[in-house]
Symmetry: C2
Amino acid sequence: MTWSAHASEQLDQAGYRSGSARRQVVDLFAGAECALTALEIDSRIESVGRASVYRTLDQLERLQLIQRVEIGGDAAGYERVDPAAHHHHLVCGRCGRLSPFTSDELESAIEAVGRHSGFALASHDVVLRGTCPECQAADA
Amino acid sequence: MTWSAHASEQLDQAGYRSGSARRQVVDLFAGAECALTALEIDSRIESVGRASVYRTLDQLERLQLIQRVEIGGDAAGYERVDPAAHHHHLVCGRCGRLSPFTSDELESAIEAVGRHSGFALASHDVVLRGTCPECQAADA
DNA sequence: ATCTGTGCAAATAGTTTGCATCCTC
DNA sequence: GAGGATGCAAACTATTTGCACAGAT
């Protein structure tokens, strides 16, 4: 099942009605490569109030259809949750590019921390900062 | 060498003058257990303007004497950089408590990602969210 | 004496809320 | 037709900036 179909289903089940603002935001996420900020979303959609964007983000996050990614500046990023494609981010401090990566070793290390700490882990964020290969070349 | 001594030295070398606001912020960090937000710092220090707090945080971060920790809400946290005591954070979503943890397995997984990605890693943030043991007990 | 650091207040940026209206069910 | 969804504008919170003045060197 595609993510947008899954999202619509979950939203319906949760009792939310379907309006045009929400539909447009969901569509945007469905086609997005990586994380988007609220303001990016707002500016890419015509005739949708900023408040509706935030309200929709809130609903989607609550249902775990999207998740917040702290990319470290002033604005928070949000991206589709796709359990089959769990990943983290590398942020280039020079050009701002966001690259996804995965690491089984990393995930198992995190699970181990959860076990030892006694915390019931719900989610985790891993953000690696540095300089991407292109910018390293440009600097040289 | 203690962190505050190291900090003063670095600040002097960087050409910054010493004023009372900065001194108080540095002292607060020297005695802090974990991350502090700008507003916490401002409220714990009498007669220091909020702007000076932010300006000082900016200087300290630039010199890598403190680092920003994205604890996920609206306010960013800052804490002392102590290479000998590198650690990450567990955040309890119920009571907000911040607990530090370390994991060699995690660190080596991150190094490996750096090597494979081609990024020159400068820093990284790992934030695990969940429910702390106390809150789990309280919920039961 | 000079020039940086500081405090205050105003300006900004991101996010949230109140409310009248529109549209889904 | 009723009640949630939406858009607009105003409110809020965290952070930044402009400026006059105090204080460090």
